[in-house]
């Protein structure tokens, strides 16, 4: 195992930030820690990195106990913090060189790695810029370059796309996939379910410091009863039709507001066909129609009774 966390308990006074948290990260995977703000993701990461004291539990990295002076372990870790952690007084190149230099002492090797990191995050045109001159997206890219320039075996990214424009976000996600393809194991924390779905091969969903579900996105979605959601644009749908629609098979709930009919299904097949047949038989005219598969938010909603973004 690359990372093994067992029964991790971390308290801030009366608040239990991680409550007997346990999970394992296997070599080569992109492991997602998904949960709303305040669910204990960052605390768990800081405990894994031996930055925080914890009350109980066992943490192993590369099958060795993690400690502040475990330099042989730290040498193989790259961290991208939630906040941009660079020096304002150093240029893009100097920042990457500085943090890379904390891991790599050989100057020639370091120069090569820094150049590769600059190329990787696409900051070639900004290498002499100071961080204050960079946009939010470019700053995030610099933050990532500083964390991965030394080519670590384990990369931990804690909400790296917060407050990032869509273009930069896509670049960052593509970069993380590339790092994984190059052999790095990745731990990715986020409260953006779309990112986690898109990126991670295995996911832990956290709430209130506890693991509430673990598995691949398919496995997680299979855990819940909810099926697809169909939204149809219909004008002037009468209440008698709504009552009839509710009688169709596999339907969990029906809502009709502002000419939009939203139907949530439990698991089942041919739901869309059945609905379209109903419209045709009753000569109901409809506009746009689309179907959505259940998301991780639905998983979270069904397990906790609240939205992931709450």
């Amino acid at each position: 195992m690359i990372v093994s966390v067992k029964n991790l308990v971390k308290r801030y006074g009366d608040l239990v930030a991680t409550d007997h948290l346990s999970f394992e990260v296997k070599e080569g995977e992109i492991f997602g820690l998904l949960g709303p703000n305040g669910s204990g993701k960052t605390t768990a990461i800081n405990c894994i990195l031996s930055l925080l004291n914890y009350d109980k539990g066992e943490i192993k990295l590369f099958d060795k106990p993690m400690a502040p002076d475990a330099y042989d372990i730290k040498r193989d870790i790259g961290v991208i913090m939630q906040d941009v952690a660079v020096f304002d007084e150093l240029t893009v190149y100097e920042n990457i060189d500085y943090f890379c230099g904390l891991y790599i002492t050989d100057k020639v090797t370091r120069r090569k790695l820094v150049e590769e990191a600059i190329e990787f995050v696409g900051l070639n045109d900004f290498r002499k810029f100071y961080p204050k001159k960079l946009s939010g997206g470019l700053l995030r890219r610099l933050n990532i370059a500083c964390g991965v320039a030394h080519k670590p075996k384990l990369i931990i990214l804690d909400e790296p796309t917060v407050a990032v424009d869509p273009q930069s976000r896509n670049n960052i996600l593509a970069g993380i996939k590339k790092l994984n393809e190059d052999g790095a194991t990745v731990i990715y924390t986020s409260h953006y379910m779309e990112e986690v779905e898109q990126l991670c091969s295995r996911i832990v969903i956290m709430d209130k410091g506890k693991v509430i579900a673990t598995g691949s996105k398919e496995e997680l979605k299979a855990m819940i009863k909810s099926g697809e959601k169909i939204t149809v644009e219909v004008f002037g749908l009468g209440s008698s039709y709504l009552t009839s629609i509710k009688q169709l098979p596999n339907i969990n709930s029906v809502q009709y507001t502002e000419n939009n009919l939203v139907i949530k299904y439990s698991k089942g097949k041919s739901n869309l066909n059945t609905l379209l047949d109903f419209f045709r038989d009753n000569e109901i005219t409809y506009g746009r129609i689309y179907s959505e598969l259940p998301t991780l938010n639905d998983v979270f909603l069904e397990i906790t009774g609240k939205e992931l973004r709450d």
Binding site: L51, N53, D72, L102, Y103, T105
Partner: protein, 380 residues
């Protein structure tokens, strides 16, 4: 690794405009203002004859010795007094208008009337006391030992004609008390090095900055990062102090005497004290960077005030009333080390100050180490 961190810390410090302003530009601005303000102080301190009045009464007219004494004291290039003989009413008016420092009434005793206290008043009083004591002694000798008159007693007494004399202090031909202000300024600049010390702590403690958290997950011991940062801070601060000294000596024209080696040594130790003080305060105060800076600025300015940077007499007031404060105030210690070099022939007092500064530096470093040595935090 050390040099890698050291060189990058050098870049960080020298490119921090706020830090460079407070530790270099601000002292240079103050030095310029001090230079413009204090340029005439030493000239004002050249001795000027004191204006006094003597009441023209019967006793004064009969006292030929006193009249002769006053005549002698008001003649020559280095005369002590400018004397106006007047009535009591006129003397009162002159005193009220500040035209005379005091007036003398000769009666059964010689009395002095003044309105204020100060150096001039003290000089008049001392001279009159000395005259009275001398007259009394001579009268006593004449009564008990008349032979002394034949042995030239009166000639010896009358030989006393010179009332002002320049003394050489320390190593300087012409000591200038305005340098005390510049000493305090240099000391303040040394203590402004505390900002550097604070910055290093903030950039090293994972619970104080994001950059420090990133460094803490790297395979480098925190103390190595801190020592490299403090070393870089020391180099920058010492160079800044050298620039300040050069500016004071060359542009402002402050004369530091001929013990430049000791002066540099004082600055060297002062820089270490300032940086370690900042590191200590930053480590012990678990507040935001702004609060830490406010505490450092406030404490440095207070220490500089108590060391006499804003008021030359403050140094003496503190030494007289709260002497312990002079021994625990780093600015006062640095100022006094310069002072000792300037005014004293021996180095006893100088090395006492250096010893105290070194002791405080060691204590600040020790306490800082004890506070920051832990590598895990309760919260980040």
């Amino acid at each position: 690794m050390f040099w890698h961190i050291f060189s990058n810390r050098l870049k960080c410090i020298t490119r921090d405009k706020g830090l460079i302003f407070w530790t270099l530009v601000f002292p240079l601005i103050l030095a310029t203002l001090f230079g413009m303000t204090l340029v005439n102080i030493s000239k004002q301190e050249d001795f000027n004859s004191i204006n006094i009045a003597v009441i023209n009464n019967e006793a004064y007219q009969k006292d030929e010795n006193f009249k002769s004494f006053l005549t002698d004291a008001s003649q020559g290039e280095d005369k002590l007094f400018n004397i106006t003989v007047s009535t009591k009413d006129e003397a009162e008016k002159l005193l009220d208008k500040g035209k005379v420092t005091g007036y003398i009434i000769v009666d059964s005793q010689i009395k002095l009337v003044v309105k204020n206290s100060g150096l001039s008043q003290t000089i008049i009083k001392s001279v009159l006391d000395e005259y009275s004591q001398t007259v009394s002694a001579v009268n006593s000798i004449m009564t008990n030992n008349k032979a002394a008159i034949q042995n030239g007693l009166l000639e010896d007494v009358n030989k006393r004609r010179e009332y002002t004399k320049e003394f050489q202090l320390g190593t300087k031909d012409k000591p200038d008390s305005s340098v005390n202000y510049f000493y305090a300024l240099i000391a303040m600049a040394c203590l402004y090095g505390s900002f550097f010390g604070s910055k290093q702590i903030i950039d090293t403690q994972a619970d104080l900055s994001k950059q420090a958290a990133r460094q803490s997950v790297a395979p480098v011991h925190k103390l190595k990062v801190l020592v490299a940062g403090l070393s870089a801070s020391f180099v920058v601060l010492f160079v800044e102090i050298l620039i300040l000294l050069s500016y004071l000596a060359v542009v402002i024209g402050v004369d530091f005497g001929n013990q430049i080696g000791y002066i540099l040594f004082t600055c060297f130790v002062g820089c270490a004290t300032g940086i370690s003080f900042g590191a200590f305060v930053s480590a012990i105060v678990k507040k935001s960077e702004g609060v830490k800076m406010a505490i450092l600025i406030g404490s440095t300015m207070t220490a500089s005030f108590l060391a006499g940077m804003m008021n030359g007499n403050m140094k003496y007031i503190v030494e007289k009333n709260v002497p312990i404060l002079a021994y625990i105030n780093p600015v006062a210690l640095i100022t006094d080390a310069f002072y000792a070099l300037y005014y004293y022939d021996t180095h006893t007092r100088f090395f006492m100050n250096i010893g105290l500064m070194s002791g405080f530096t060691v204590l600040f470093c020790l306490f800082t180490y004890l506070i920051i040595r832990r590598q895990k935090y309760a919260s980040i």
